[in-house]
Every structure is written in structure tokens, then in C-alpha cells.
Symmetry: C2
Subunit: 510 residues, 2 copies
């Protein structure tokens, strides 16, 4: 039989590849089940169901971990890699992605994974209490432990790389803190003058306009209407209400949530557009890649580019409101019809340095992220300590945004990310803005009547462009490659800065 | 070390017992996840999510099957049983229940399980089409295959028992077709004269009363109100809407569903009471048994006794409406306030032989079940063929209920049970009525002011009695033992017949 070895071997590789994809597909199905359980937890679970739910979540997390760290996966990877060249590019990408995920999980000793999960829970719990009491000292010891365990984890995954880079790799693959530093330094340089010009302008919006009462029922109608306007498919999705909005699921079951405030319709309005942007990505992933590693989004930053494109670039544009104001006035029965277009556009684009990231506007938002990135990078590199953290935080907020932090609840303890061990995550938010504006520049080349389309509420060609370039690429490319394929160049901050300068010059009459 | 063997052995049994309970607890958690996925499927899943959902359901079903048929379970059972006497009664019951479940699953070859699952899906699909087309001939070949596979399955589980008995054991443990035949013969003898008397009475209800328009929003308020009146805990449950109502979950997350018809408030009214009765059982299981085999309901028949007790014995009683009519009139804003109590009670208790089981009244319902049982028993014993099925069905409907079946869609193909392979299930429905009335007789001995309590809307002592006697017993006893412990005697049809005679004599003025 020796003469057939080569052939048999190649057949084996195909067989092994198929077997590996089957394992991965099971992993995705389990991941979907976990998403559903979490969705129910946030939406409809009876209040007393917490204990039962936590057991379900532990169980499914364990099954997911078992599935991806199954020694069978390692063996199949090893065998396939010995004959990798017999596979095509797509197959190679699948193998690469499975291996990356496998390594991220399997290299972490099971005891460390357990300790980390436990410490995340403790640290989150303590953070809630400490935030309420504005008491950073209470939070610090638990945060120290979490930080140490996270560094250990990074060290297990790749001892040759900066811990920050290793951790960021889960969210923004193939990005390093050196690259992010370069990008963010430039971004900071661009943002600060725009913010100064806007805040110093005598031309300021009337923020009371958004505070008018708008009944929740009307807002629900608006949610449905605008989500469909941007092509979110409600036959493959749904809108529910949760305290913290989110998007979950993929392909044919992609659900978004929002929250309603009677005295601020704009909160839910832009939440829905934001989440619908995320949902479009998931609904429009390439169908032929479903249940494969490539049938996934490219990165959290690319995901954020999609949500912010719909929320800000489309939804806060003059052209959007030119189209939508009459419909809006109809649904809200004239409650806002006396507001002229200029005033409305100004107030939904108010630039105002603030202490809180999640309510920040499109321009100042980037600085909130840059502050977090710089601190987190230095923290993980051991250049600053958790002792110094509040001081460094407050100084940067004074320096970059000109705001004075009064206590640590509105300062260093405002976000859930660090207490829950999400290190390396923040950059994605600001990268998303940059990716989005860079895509816009290219899109306008391809679709010269872009503004006219928005003005006519005809978003289909715009969404189609995004689908062709981004959604359907799915996870074929890491972000640096993807952005280059789409726009012809590497990530370039200038597009976002130019977009902002042009937009805010008009709005603020600079 | 030899002198310690005995001790070590005993310690091992305790350890093994603990390990076995852990396996079972995992099985229950997976079962809960499956329930949640199914609940979402019926309630909120986007229409296009079916394909993804079916993969999730197959995955979780496979995990559940793996968990309970894990060889580890068999080994632990074997070891424990060698030293069973060292365990207490509760522990022995847990072992007995795990072994029963294990045998029900592990004895079926995996290929047969797969074939059965597939044939259930095909047969259900074909049934839907055949029912629509009123074409039994289309359904018959697929049903034949399903029946053969089901008999095979029964034969694998226990070749020494009647297939019907083996299959019924999953729903009504420790009950045989001989026992059911005896019970149902007596039941039939009791029911037929009552039905005749009611239908021959000149005193008939005005069925148009229920057809009055009642807006869904009002009905939703009623649902919430009556479910809480019967002590259903909405902090540990919720009410949603589905085409076919059901109850799912246990302990702290027990959800019910209903469906609303604007021109028949009574449908949802009694659906909610029925499902709330099921939910009370699940919410009030003994908390110390949670995640153990004994922390479960005793049988489908006992479950049905709880739902029918709340729906019929409480909810269709004169005393209930004496209490609830004013509140009902308030919520429905006087739409029904001109209807006097006698007329209302008569119309919600109308006795009317019909062709369709699920809309049958409290008295005729039993005959629908008896017909199904007799046919199914003879079918599985090979005494009648699927060829003869429609003919036998129609003859029995003529004979027992005096109705003429016009086609097989409203005849032998009306229910989903047979097409989906639920053999041995039907008896539970009618046994539930008998159990419930027998419990009532005992309850009235213990709570002589039973009727007064209902008249005052003070259901707490009544529910508490049920909780103490039934819910908290959980799965400590199989139904024959349970009913004997509660009432001091074996199942006795006379209580149900007496209850009906007394109730309907008054309502129909016999």
C-alpha cells in the first residue's frame, strides 16, 4: 500500500479538515445557545430565576470551553498543518482562525481559567459596591488580583508579547499597542482643536429641545420604523428592552435591545440605530460561511465601525433628518414639529466635554477611549500602579477634556470593563470611528450621490456597499488587511478628522 | 488495611452516590436549557430563526442523551447497588429513579433512537399535510413506520412487558394497561349517564354569552389577576402568548403561556387557570430536593390533577364566581355585568358531546381519552391495524359520544400525540381528573370550610394543602403510592363521578 501513501494522506487532510469544521460548528451552536440564555437573562427571565440561570450559564460555558480545547481539535490541527499546502486559501484561513482560538483557550491552565472566572465575579461585585460608595480603596485590592491573573493569562498565551497586545488580540486581532499608540496620538492631535473650536463657538444648541416629553409607545413605533429604514430585517430579528442595550445572535436570529426615556427620545433613537448597525453586520455575513470560523465578524473595531456608521454618519447627518423629520413629526404627532432642521441637527450633534464615556458625543468620545487606552497600556506594562490610577485618570481628563473629576465613581470606576476583566477592549471603540470614516471616504468615491440617497431615505445602495465590502468579507481578513482591501490603504486617522471638521464646521458655523 | 474494608466500602458508596447525583444535576441543568430554548422557539424567536434553532435543539438533545446514558452513570449505579442497604429511603428512591431513567434511555440502541427521532419528524410533517388535506391514506405509511419503531423501542426497554405499558411508564410510572382498562371501564360507566341527563335536560345554557367581545388588553389584565389569585408567583414566573398554551420550567423559573380570542374570553380564562395549576406544582416542589431525581413531579397524571383542580374544581365552581364576578365585571368594565351568576356558571360548564378533545367539557372529556386509550392499547397489542383505525375511531365516537365524524381531520388525525410518537400518554389526562376529585374529597375532610374559602377568594389554605400533600412530595412516590398516601386508598373513580353528579345536578337542575 506504500505507493498510495501520498494520495491517502491528502484524502486524510480533507477528511480531517471536515472533522475539524464539524467540531467548530458544534462550538458555534453552543455559543448561540449561550447567547440565547444571556438574552433571556437580560430581557424576560423572572427576577427569582437568577440561581438556576447561573447554573445554566456555568454549564454552557464549561461545554464551550471543553469543545474548543478538546484534544481532538489539537490533533486534527497538527495533522492538517503537516499537509497545509494541499488546502486552498479559504481553508487555510479557517485553520488559522481555529488555531488562534484554540491557542487562546488551551494554553491557559484550567486552574487559572477557574481563578480568573471567580475573580471576575468578585471584582465586579466589589466594583458595584465601591462605585456606589465612591470608594476606590475598597475596589483596589480585588482589582489588583484580577490584573495579576490577567497578566498571567496573557503570559501563558504568548510570553513573548506585551500582555496588553495579547489581551487585545481577542478583540482586535493583529493590532499592537505600538500601532494603537501611533493612531491614537494622531487622533488626539486632530480631535482637541475641533472640540476647542466647537465649545468656544458662540453658536450653541438648545439642549432643552431633546428633553420634551415623548411617550414610550411613540418611541417604540420610531424604533421599528428607523430600524427597518436602515434595512434591519425584523423577520430575522427583534427589538426588546433592557437596561443596557446590546445586539446578540447571528445570521437569521439577530436581536437588538434598547431602553426608553420619556424625556429623551434621542437616547433610544440613536441606540436603535447603533444596535441596528451591529445587527446589519451579523445579518449580512456571507451565508456560505455559516458555522465556519470565517463566518464571523472580523473584529470588535470593525463591528463598531458598522454601528457608528449607521448611528453617526447616517443617523446624525443633515441629509438623514431632511428625509426623516416629516415621518418623525407624524409618529410623534407634532410634538417636535416646531423645531427647525438646523436646531435639531445641532442639538443631536452637540459637542460637550463630559466625564462619562457612554453619553459622550461623536467628537469627544475618542478622547475618553484614548485616556483609557493609555492608562491600561501602562498599567499592564507595569509603568503605573493601581495606587496611582485615580490620580492619572483625573489628570488626563483635566488635560485632554478640560473636565474636573469630583470622585472615582464618575472617574476611574465608571465603566464595567476593567472590573469584569475586559482588558484590551477599549481601543476597538475608537478604531471603529476611524474605520467607519475611512470606509465612508471610499464609499463616496464609489457612490457619488451618497448624500442624495440619504436625503431620499434610499439607504439600500449604501447598505449594499457595506455588505459587499464588509459584511460579506465576514472573517476572511483581520482588520488591517480588511481595511486595506476595502480602501486601498492602511488605517488612516485623517479621514475621520476630515469628516468631523467638515461636519462640525457647518453645524457650529465655524 | 483489610480490617477497614467495610468502612471504606461504605464511604465509597456515599462518594459514589454524591458523584451520581452530580451527574444527574448536570442532566437537569441541560434539561432546563432545552426548556428555555423551546420556550423561546414558541414565544419570541424571529420567524426565520428556525434552521439555527433546530441545530441548537439537536445539539442539546444529544448532550442530554449523552449525559444520562454516560457509562459512568451505569458504573456508579452498579457499585451503589452492591451496597444499597447502607443508604436511607430518600437516597434509595433517588437511585431507583436514576436507574429507571437510565434504563429507559440506555437500552435503546443509538441507531434506533436516531431512526425514531427522524421518523417522528417525518410523520409529524406528513400528518400536518394529511390533516389539511383530510387524507388519512397519506399519513398511514409514515405512521406505520413510527408505530413499528416505537414497538421496537418498547421491546428493547422491557421485552417482558406489553409495549403499551412500557411506553406509558415514561408518563404514568407503575401503571399498566390492565389497571387503566379497569379504571376507564368504570369511568365510562359513570360518565355516559351524566352526559345523557345533561344533554336531555330542557335546561340548556345560552352559549352566546361567551361570544361577546372582550378586548385582549382586558383579558391580559384578567390573566395576571386570576393567576395571582390562585397563588402563581410572578416573581418566579411569567405569562406569554403562544398558539398552543403550555407550562415550562421548574422551581424559580416556571413560565406559562396562553392565547387570546377577542370573542371568547373563557378560552384564555380557563387556559390560564389550567396552566397556573401546572405551574403551582413546579413552583412548590420541595426545595431541598432541587436538582435531584426526587425534585421532580410524580407523573403526568398527577400534574394534570393539579391543572384540572385549579381550572375545573376551583375555577368552574359556583363559589369561585361568587367571589370573582365583581372583580371580573370591574376589569371588563361592565361588558358582562348583566349576566346573572346562574347563567354564567351554566355556560362555563356546558356539557356537549363534540368531536374535538381539546375543546371538550369536564364531563365528556374523559370519553375522548377513553376512546384514544382503547384504540392505542389495541393498536400496540396488534389487535387492530392502522388500516382499521379510522373506522374504529368513528364507531367509538358514535357509540360513546353519539357524534358522527365526517372526515379524518376531525377524527383520528385531530391530535399531535400519535404523529409525534407520544404513545402511552393519553391516559394521564383522564387519570388527572380522577386523582383531582379524589384529592378534593380528602381535602374537604381536612378543610370543612372549603367552599367558604373559595367563596371568599381565600385560596391560600387550599393551595397549601395541595402543596403539603402533592407538590412537596415531589417525586418521592409513584402515582399509585402517592394517591394512597394522600387519600388512604387506591385510585377510585367514584369520587370523580360523585363530584360530577353533585355539580351537574345543580347546574342542570336534574
Amino acid at each position: 500500500m506504500k505507493e498510495f501513501t501520498g494520495l491517502v494522506f491528502k484524502m486524510d487532510t480533507k477528511e480531517n479538515y471536515k472533522a475539524l469544521l464539524k467540531e467548530f460548528s458544534d462550538y458555534i451552536i453552543l455559543d448561540q445557545i449561550e447567547s440565547l440564555i444571556n438574552w433571556d437573562f437580560e430581557t424576560y427571565m423572572p427576577p427569582e430565576g437568577v440561581m438556576q440561570r447561573s447554573k445554566q450559564l456555568s454549564m454552557i460555558a464549561a461545554l464551550i470551553h471543553e469543545k474548543i480545547t478538546n484534544p481532538k481539535v489539537g490533533e486534527l490541527l497538527k495533522k492538517i498543518k503537516e499537509d497545509l499546502e494541499s488546502l486552498g486559501e479559504i481553508e487555510k484561513r479557517n485553520i488559522f482562525l481555529i488555531e488562534r482560538k484554540y491557542n487562546q483557550k488551551v494554553k491557559i491552565p484550567i486552574e487559572l481559567a477557574g481563578e480568573l472566572a471567580k475573580q471576575k465575579a468578585i471584582s465586579t461585585q466589589t466594583w458595584k459596591k465601591a462605585k456606589k460608595e465612591k470608594n476606590y480603596a475598597l475596589f483596589k485590592p480585588e482589582f489588583d488580583k484580577l490584573l495579576e491573573l490577567s497578566k498571567k493569562k496573557a503570559n501563558y498565551i504568548d510570553p513573548n508579547k506585551e500582555p496588553f497586545d495579547v489581551l487585545m488580540d481577542e478583540f482586535e486581532p493583529n493590532m499592537t499597542s505600538i500601532m494603537v499608540t501611533r493612531i491614537f496620538d494622531e487622533l488626539k492631535k486632530g480631535l482637541i482643536p475641533i472640540i476647542k473650536k466647537c465649545t468656544n463657538s458662540p453658536n450653541q444648541p438648545d439642549s432643552s429641545l431633546l428633553k420634551r416629553n415623548c411617550p414610550i409607545d411613540m418611541q417604540r413605533k420610531i424604533s421599528e420604523d428607523i430600524s427597518q429604514l436602515v434595512n434591519y430585517d425584523l423577520e430575522r430579528g427583534r427589538i426588546d428592552e433592557t437596561e443596557h442595550p446590546f445586539t446578540t445572535g447571528y445570521y437569521d436570529d439577530v436581536r437588538i435591545t434598547t431602553h426608553y426615556f420619556e424625556n429623551d427620545f434621542s437616547d433610544s433613537f440613536y441606540t436603535v440605530l447603533h444596535e441596528a448597525g451591529h445587527a446589519l453586520y451579523e445579518q449580512n455575513l456571507s451565508r456560505e460561511y455559516m458555522y465556519q470560523p470565517i463566518g464571523w465578524f472580523s473584529s470588535y473595531g470593525i463591528h463598531e465601525s458598522q454601528s457608528r456608521f449607521i448611528e453617526n454618519i447616517i443617523g446624525r447627518s443633515r441629509e438623514f433628518w431632511e428625509f426623516y423629520k416629516p415621518k418623525f413629526d407624524e409618529i410623534t404627532q407634532g410634538k417636535f414639529s416646531d423645531i427647525d432642521l438646523d436646531s435639531l441637527i445641532h442639538v443631536v450633534n452637540e459637542v460637550k466635554p463630559s466625564k462619562i464615556r457612554i453619553t459622550a458625543d461623536e467628537v469627544t468620545y475618542g478622547l475618553h477611549i484614548i485616556i483609557r487606552f493609555e492608562i491600561e497600556r501602562d498599567l499592564l506594562a507595569g509603568k503605573i500602579t493601581t495606587e496611582e490610577l485615580p490620580e492619572v485618570w483625573n489628570a488626563k481628563y483635566k488635560d485632554y477634556l478640560g473636565v474636573v473629576i469630583e470622585d472615582d465613581a464618575e472617574g476611574v470606576m465608571q465603566d464595567t470593563h476593567w472590573p469584569s476583566g475586559l482588558f484590551g477592549y477599549f481601543p476597538s471603540y475608537a478604531l471603529g470611528n476611524c474605520y467607519g470614516a475611512q470606509m465612508l471616504a471610499k464609499m463616496v468615491e464609489d457612490i457619488p450621490n451618497f448624500k442624495e440617497l440619504v436625503r431620499n431615505g434610499d439607504l439600500k445602495p449604501i447598505i449594499n456597499w457595506m455588505t459587499e465590502k464588509v459584511h460579506k468579507a465576514s472573517n476572511l481578513y483581520d482588520p488591517p488587511d480588511l481595511i486595506k482591501r476595502i480602501t486601498g490603504e492602511e488605517i488612516n486617522v485623517k479621514y475621520f478628522i476630515q469628516y468631523l471638521e467638515e461636519k462640525y464646521s457647518k453645524i457650529y458655523g465655524l
